[in-house]
Symmetry: C2
Subunit: 235 residues, 2 copies
Amino acid sequence: MPLATQERTPVSRSRALRAAVELADAEGIDAVSMRNLAGRLGVVPMALYKHVANKEDLLDGMVDTLVADLPRPEPGPGWKPAARATILAAREMIVAHPWLRRVIESRTRRTPTVLTHMDSLAGAFIAGGLSADLTHHVMHTLGHRIWGFSPEAFDAPEEPDDATPPADPQEVAAMVEHMSATYPAITAVTLAAIDGDLSRLGEGCDEQWEFEFALDLLLDAFERLHTGSRGSRNT
Amino acid sequence: MPLATQERTPVSRSRALRAAVELADAEGIDAVSMRNLAGRLGVVPMALYKHVANKEDLLDGMVDTLVADLPRPEPGPGWKPAARATILAAREMIVAHPWLRRVIESRTRRTPTVLTHMDSLAGAFIAGGLSADLTHHVMHTLGHRIWGFSPEAFDAPEEPDDATPPADPQEVAAMVEHMSATYPAITAVTLAAIDGDLSRLGEGCDEQWEFEFALDLLLDAFERLHTGSRGSRNT
DNA sequence: CATCCGAGGTGTACGACGTACACCTTTTAT
DNA sequence: ATAAAAGGTGTACGTCGTACACCTCGGATG
């Protein structure tokens, strides 16, 4: 005999998606399995398939859930600040949900929600007077930066292990020596980034700063292309 | 009684990695499972673990195998053409192995081989006179472009299904109408890219061109930052 | 009222996957 | 000849996504 019916609000697509986002936030994206998520919802795994087509659809939906809340670029002052603000808002979303970057990267479908976001950003450029052609190239150049992240080829790998133990200075010095001999350029770059202060070695760099640096570099370059071609060339 | 001993060259790490690359080239990255790869090598799955630590290590190794063959930037004429040539060579590698992009994106370790490539590229900038600081930002800005691809947020999704059937023009026109109403900016951009010729709708855009456009845009911007700061600022 | 239906939930089962562990065999070095 | 290392085997476990057949309600409809 079942316990006193603990009334369970029935699962719905949006409830499932929100639960999945919460689960990913709390325990990481690997914890988001159909079985695990179903458990959270007090339901058997297969029940989820009444609300999502399959796991891909679940992940698409999770992205949609978050992307739908992004602000649209404000029409007005100019395309550059509008695009900048929109992209930085997307970045806040990425920072708030660390698993989101990888999930977006792995998406293969373009959902209407995602298309809407892309359209409103492209629309900002067009409204600002950029030609459709230039807007096209601009969107390509921005790439995933549209979503608030750039592909961080140069980044320190995420270290899931507990923070590196302090390690005595002598050992560190020897390591740096070795690095410097093997990878002179990278070492020079790294040392410059921490002002030569070896105690700051584990810090990693200021991603936000790097992101905005690259973003502004690109926006400025776009502006140069745009104004440089007004009336004379066909971009 | 076993068949006449068909002499099998013993598996080695590099043989396993090369076989894995071939397998991925031939059947896609999903076909690269420990079991499948072992089968190809005429060996039981667990035998692979004598040569790779685990699957992540296998994937790392596959990347290394290819990255090791990349040319280093030539010292000489200037950092810009040197970096450009190196990055475009990496791009050729990516194009030749379509699975490689995703695998590189998913790597979490930086192997010595990969560090060596990054170091030689960073070294080109430094040899060209860019400060360590500027080189740092430059590497970040290039992001995955270092590896010959940019994150294609704006790309058509890869369509694994057979090419879209020709679809009669009337239907296409209606679809475009609908798209244009729902996503005006994207539609304008897309139509511009195909010169309004609806028969070219499925084409997708010239990725190589977009890649080089973005690459050159960035390299030019770096140059402007560099020469603009010579002797006056500390970048 | 009786009936039906469809939306939501269940239970079982299958075929992958990565890999731990204990064991065997072959090659090589001494 | 012998010992040890290097390479290969076989079994087993836990996890995953999901196909398929079934059940169970709460209305809507005759």
